[in-house]
């Protein structure tokens, strides 16, 4: 059950606008995530990064604009349909569910498995077999993300950094073609950051998926990203490679002008 899908289709965001009660959260945002690349979306707090993710995963319906994954138009689909197309995500604030790491990871296998209420209740051989196969794959992914030792530990008992990684592993369990990571290293200490960065680098190399990354840690963005889109006040103010973006005056203005994120910008430049 090793997943090595052919190169994922491009994720194409075109003119996405989101308006909440008169407030413009995203204003005509466009960018394209090329197949198999890491695309970072950066910007000061409140720039619309999480809103953007919520549109991509189907939690918000944009006022205007389209999101295409290959031929599929995502903006009209419910979140579970988007998940079934191979788009997985993590959350900025940890959103794990009850139970062990194994339970959370098996939730990630939900869209890939079939067993319904009747088959599971009667423990039909097909359901038992399916569960066993998916559990084996979930264990592999736990090993890959460095959670192998905690596979049967209740998530609530894990330290912050590990819980954050549970989310990452759960998303990977979906065998995604596109992985949306919302601040994967926020709140982590230096060692945990390094470890997560390694994990992301590895999975990208091994699984060949596209990654969309929202992150404040400029160091991480510079090391991982192939392309960067900068959001400010809901607008995409710059696109380019990390190096181009770092020199872009608009970006400097967005970061330095608002006063937030100066530290991280400096860290990135260092």
């Amino acid at each position: 059950m090793t997943a090595a899908p052919a190169a994922p289709p491009a994720l194409d965001v075109r003119g996405v606008t989101v308006r909440f009660a008169g407030l413009l959260a995203l204003d005509d945002v466009s960018f394209t995530v090329a197949p198999g690349t890491v695309h970072a979306v950066i910007g000061p707090n409140g720039a619309g990064k999480s809103t953007c993710f919520n549109v991509l995963s189907g939690l918000y319906r944009p006022t205007a604009g389209t999101v295409r994954l290959g031929a599929a138009e995502l903006t009209r689909l419910a979140p579970h349909r988007i998940a079934a197309l191979g788009v997985a995500r993590t959350f900025q604030n940890i959103v794990t569910t009850r139970g062990t790491v194994a339970d959370n990871l098996m939730l990630g296998r939900h869209a890939l498995s079939r067993a319904g209420f009747a088959a599971t209740a009667l423990r039909l051989p097909s359901a038992v077999r399916e569960q066993r196969a998916h559990l084996a794959r979930a264990r592999e992914i736990a090993e890959l993300t460095g959670l192998g030792a905690h596979f049967d530990t209740p998530v609530a008992l894990l330290p912050y950094g590990d819980r954050k990684r549970v989310e990452l592993a759960r998303a990977l369990c979906l065998e995604p073609r596109v992985l949306l990571l919302d601040e994967p290293v926020a709140g982590m200490n230096a060692a945990e950051r390094t470890r997560t960065t390694e994990v992301v680098r590895e999975i990208r190399a091994e699984l060949g998926l596209s990654v969309v990354l929202v992150e404040h840690d400029m160091g991480l963005v510079m090391r991982l990203a192939d392309d960067v889109t900068v959001l400010d006040f809901g607008r995409a103010v710059a696109h380019g490679t990390p190096d181009e973006v770092r020199r872009d005056p608009e970006v400097l203005r967005a970061y330095l002008g608002t006063g937030t994120g100066t530290g991280t910008a400096k860290e990135g430049a260092a």
């Binding site: 959103v95 599971t120 359901a127 759960r170």
Partner: protein, 387 residues
């Protein structure tokens, strides 16, 4: 998915309680058997409500309605007036009917969340009660209907039919129904635990913790909410059939809001989200008033039934007790009886581990699919018992 030895050990651990339950009819008189029978019926229903309210986090105060659908469905389908089907067929159809009734409500049950569903399901109880009173030709109105005995292949679960004596013990209705109840409870136990540990159970638990996380992981939230409601209704229907057979008469007033609240009390007292907990809670809530009635004259502060004049009768006393039990349990031990037992077990183990060789605590432990009653398995415990 766990190794065969642990499976075997778990199965072996189940053997003594099963043997004990099978042997009881040879030693207990009808009074105790009836308590057991009502408890088993209640446990079937409580497990169903536990799936809905405990696991999926959807509060329901409409459980009494689905119990009624099962009970009246059986009576009508097997009886006269009614199609007069073979009782076994009628029983199966009654369970399906309860599921269908749950399905009819699913446009509401799939979209109304959590505690709000509790208010919405009030409608089922009151509208259902009204229908039971009004649709005389089917339900027999206020006085209800008598319940045709269940017969399978010429064997009647009643006092009728050929006499039966096993090992010198005459098998009357109570003894026969006991084994029926036991079989249905076993079926409930088997299926419900399969559900909880399988894909649907995980999806339901996840959507009650975070609808957002569940949906982006591919769970069709509304469909799963509806399905939980339907499955829970089917367990209620099964419990209703068993209750009807045990009572031998069904009356509308039994299926009131108070009954729904009783079932909620069962799963809260037992510990939300666990099959064993729901069963323990069912026994507690069912047996308590019956025992209090029987022993009222020996209990302090409790008056014998019918002494009137505002005295505390056995029914009131037990209601005080389990009303208070809900409050105290949620204040002190939100995971109920089952959680208390679990923590006591964990404390014992810690003590044992402290004296054992270092490092044994980190031994690899089988994961999902292991037995939650197995005290060596924190994985399954955390999964089934977190409210």
């Amino acid at each position: 998915m766990s190794d065969p030895r642990s499976v075997l050990r778990r199965r072996a651990a189940l053997l003594p309680p099963v043997l004990l339950l099978c042997a009881l009819p040879f030693y207990l008189d009808a009074f105790w058997l009836r308590i057991g029978l009502f408890s088993m019926a209640a446990a079937v229903g409580a497990v169903g409500l536990g799936l809905l309210s405990g696991t999926a986090g959807q509060l329901s105060l409409g459980h009494a309605f689905f119990l009624a659908v099962g009970a009246y469905g059986y009576v009508w389908l097997a009886g006269e007036p009614g199609p007069g089907l073979p009782p076994a067929v009628a029983a199966v159809l009654a369970v399906l009917l309860a599921g269908a009734a749950g399905g009819l409500f699913s446009p509401v049950a799939g979209r109304v969340k959590g505690i709000y569903l509790g208010v919405a399901t009030l409608a089922l109880v009151f509208l259902g009660h009204h229908v039971l009173l009004t649709a005389d030709s089917v339900t027999g109105g206020f006085n209800g209907r008598s319940v045709p005995p269940l017969e399978v292949g010429g064997f009647a679960f009643a006092d009728s039919g050929p006499e039966l004596t096993v090992l010198g013990v005459p098998f009357g209705a109570e003894e026969r129904l006991w084994y029926l109840g036991l079989a249905l409870f076993a079926l409930t136990w088997f299926t419900a635990r399969g559900l909880l540990r399988g894909r649907p159970g995980r999806a339901l638990a996840a959507l009650s913790d975070s609808e957002t996380a569940a949906s982006v992981m591919g769970v069709h939230v509304a469909r799963y909410r509806s399905a939980a409601f339907v499955v829970s209704s089917m367990y209620a229907g099964l419990a209703g059939v068993l209750l009807a057979l045990s009572f031998r008469r069904v009356v509308p007033d039994y299926f009131s809001l108070a009954l729904s609240v009783d079932y909620l009390a069962m799963i809260v007292i037992g510990g939300l989200g666990s099959v064993a907990g729901a069963s323990a809670g069912a026994v507690f809530v069912t047996a308590l008033p019956l025992l209090m009635t029987r022993y009222a004259d020996q209990l302090p502060l409790v008056a014998t039934p019918g002494s009137g004049g505002g005295a505390i009768g056995p029914t009131e006393a037990s209601r005080y007790l389990y009303g208070a039990a809900i409050v105290v349990i949620l204040l002190r031990a939100p995971d109920g009886l089952h959680g208390l037992a679990r923590r006591a077990g964990a404390r014992l183990r810690r003590r044992r581990r402290a004296t054992g060789p270092p490092g044994t605590g980190a031994a690899p432990i089988p994961a999902a699919g292991t037995d939650p009653t197995d005290p060596t398995d924190p994985a399954a415990r955390a999964k089934e018992h977190t409210p």
